[in-house]
Symmetry: C2
Subunit: 233 residues, 2 copies
Amino acid sequence: MTGGTARRAPLSRDRVLGAAVALADSVGIEALSMRQLAQELGVVPMALYKHVANKDELVDGMVDVVLGEIDPAAPTADWRDAVRRRVLSAREVVVRHPWARKAIESRTRRTPTVLAYMDSLAGMFRAGGFSPDLTHHVMHALGNRMWGFSPELFEEPRDPSAPAPSPEQQEAMAAEFAERFPHILEIATAATSGDLSRVGGGCDEQFEFEFALDLMLDGFERLREQGWTSRRG
Amino acid sequence: MTGGTARRAPLSRDRVLGAAVALADSVGIEALSMRQLAQELGVVPMALYKHVANKDELVDGMVDVVLGEIDPAAPTADWRDAVRRRVLSAREVVVRHPWARKAIESRTRRTPTVLAYMDSLAGMFRAGGFSPDLTHHVMHALGNRMWGFSPELFEEPRDPSAPAPSPEQQEAMAAEFAERFPHILEIATAATSGDLSRVGGGCDEQFEFEFALDLMLDGFERLREQGWTSRRG
DNA sequence: TTGACAGGCGTACACCGTACACCTACGGTT
DNA sequence: AACCGTAGGTGTACGGTGTACGCCTGTCAA
């Protein structure tokens, strides 16, 4: 009966992964469970296991999905520009999917999609005149930054439900902090251009990311120029 | 009765944390559970909660313990040397406690111990002539490498229980790999000096770490020399 | 002697991933 | 038309997790 109440669309690997990505987008990766995902799909938990082997493989698949959102590599004369674009494009997708950071960090299996991305990046270095040897090391040096994220040194819980400390408590804490961690306080205030009220407010992650990325790329270029090699002689 | 069968030594926060570190050392962080830890201490699970608030706080404490194993900062004329020593000392302890990598990555709360370490590092940059502004950014650029580890691009499961693929299967896989990921294959063989049989064997992590660290430190020094600042004008 | 309290115990709950057996509907073969 | 293999959704159950809550007991100060 085509005109009756529409039957639930059948599951498929893609539908499962898509729903998982959407769910992780809204509740985070640590709240994503097979049971909740099943419920979201109007299905019993075990039904999922007909489409993914287990939860690990599910997360692998989710990572593949978001990696698929990275802009395909565009041909560029300049290796530096090519790498930079690619990585910043990757960054855009992990910003869209904040859980991807943890997911990628925790991943141990390298899926073909992951390998393909790394391969394309390696290819850019090679095309730019990097030796296989040097390419290898700069890929390591890039590390997780190739996926468009850097570790968050300070992640603020910013828990609004927590009871706000009284002003004098705040003052006391600030005083103790200033005594024990003067340099951190100093650079934190520098980061906010001296606006003390915004000290806890987090950093400009995009700036920090590009700063570090460019620093590395500069270093890479220098090593390439001077024909760096790991073999002594 | 002092001479009778010795009563179990009473629990304490330190004893709990010490046992947790030892347990994680032997079974890994993901196998560490409150129940198992309690059993190790000859105690009922809930007894632990009299000494740590919850599991998160337990892990925070464990991280603090291992950070305590880092060599105290020694006075050095050269900022570069000071930072390098400190970070490599940190690396020694995370190599001793492999689980610390994941633990630190997953941590969100910054304990005083963590802050103290970061503060001492920041202090080294400041003493070396870095502006607060620049210090801030280089700390971000250093990222998790300040804890002595870099992300593992390829972690091999190296599962010995998995059925070994037949030689022809292996050959077929290698051929497909070579076609799809030529650059990865190329740099992997470069890493083993052309010894194809060792391609899957992993990289020299220590070398990669120092390579990346020195690359960053070089970059930092250059920025310091030229009086880099994030403010335009 | 008393009574507060620190610290270990036992039970119980909600949640997790997933093994296993079952059912049911569909597509191709005879 | 009868059959049957199989893909895919269901239900139940098991062993694991973190931890809330109440109890009980030994220690020590008043």
